[in-house]
């Protein structure tokens, strides 16, 4: 399983923080599109940064089984 995490507005629109996909390998970009397809009412996916296993990752980074991919909307801490 690949676990996907959504936060802040993404989580609120999706109605859940975690999604699991039964995939072997997929790119960040493909997962981003998949989430948007599965949750069409999510807004702001295109502005969210991706983090693979808690480190920021580019769009073409491959994501494997057992990886954790988080979509990080623009942050506003501090």
């Amino acid at each position: 399983m690949i676990k996907v995490l959504l936060f802040a507005e993404l989580e609120e629109k999706a109605g859940q923080r975690e999604i699991e996909y039964d995939m072997e390998e997929v790119s960040v970009k493909e997962l981003r599109n998949k989430v948007q397809e599965d949750f069409p009412n999510i807004t702001g996916m295109e502005r969210a940064m991706a983090a693979l296993n808690e480190e920021y990752a580019g769009e073409d980074t491959p994501v494997h089984k057992d990886d954790l991919l988080a979509f990080i909307p623009p942050v506003s801490g501090g």
């Binding site: 995490l5 936060f7 802040a8 507005e9 609120e12 807004t43 702001g44 502005r47 940064m49 983090a51 808690e54 480190e55 920021y56 990752a57 580019g58 988080a70 990080i72 909307p73 623009p74 942050v75 506003s76 801490g77 501090g78």
Partner: protein, 166 residues
């Protein structure tokens, strides 16, 4: 010269649901050769322009947020090897005047303490996965979402002056 880094444990960079204690964060940067400690405290402000905040909710991707806070500490220590840094960020529901973040930076000389502390708060607003939801009388919104202009460069956002309304 890596003393600062050695003595900064993971414990110096925390995300917590508990109310923040300034002295506790300051204690983490105590050092016999510190002549200066700069502390930056972010608090919940009631009025932003004409809008009245009732309360805030902070959420975080906790393990990654703590890693990124520690990374900020390492970035400062790379510039100022004698610096000791501690950052604690609160999440959950915060009332007006509650402390959202406490940054403490100790250095031998004062200019470095100011600089390190300022760098830390600007970097937090760039790379640390923590989000603020504003609750106003007439609605609520996850902040950041409204900033259509905000975008991240790949991997490691660069230091820049953030907007002052954050």
């Amino acid at each position: 010269m890596a003393k600062g880094i050695e003595t900064m444990s993971e414990n110096n960079f925390k995300v917590t649901y508990e109310p923040l204690n300034v002295e506790e964060t300051i204690k983490k940067v105590a050092d016999r050769n510190a002549g200066a400690i700069n502390t930056f405290i972010g608090t919940v402000r009631e009025m932003t322009n004409e809008k009245k905040t009732l309360k805030l909710t902070y959420d975080a991707y906790v393990p990654m947020a703590e890693k990124k806070l520690a990374q900020i500490g390492r970035e400062i220590a790379a510039d100022i090897p004698e610096a000791k840094i501690a950052i604690t960020h609160r999440i959950g529901e915060l009332e007006i005047s509650d402390l959202a973040v406490v940054i403490a930076v100790s250095t031998p000389h004062r200019a470095d303490a100011f600089e390190g502390s300022r760098y830390a708060i600007e970097r937090i607003k760039e790379i640390v996965p923590i989000w603020k939801k504003e609750h106003w009388q007439d609605g609520e919104m996850w902040i950041g979402d409204q900033l259509e202009t905000t975008s991240y460069p790949e991997g490691k956002p660069l230091y820049k002056e953030a907007t002052e309304d954050d």
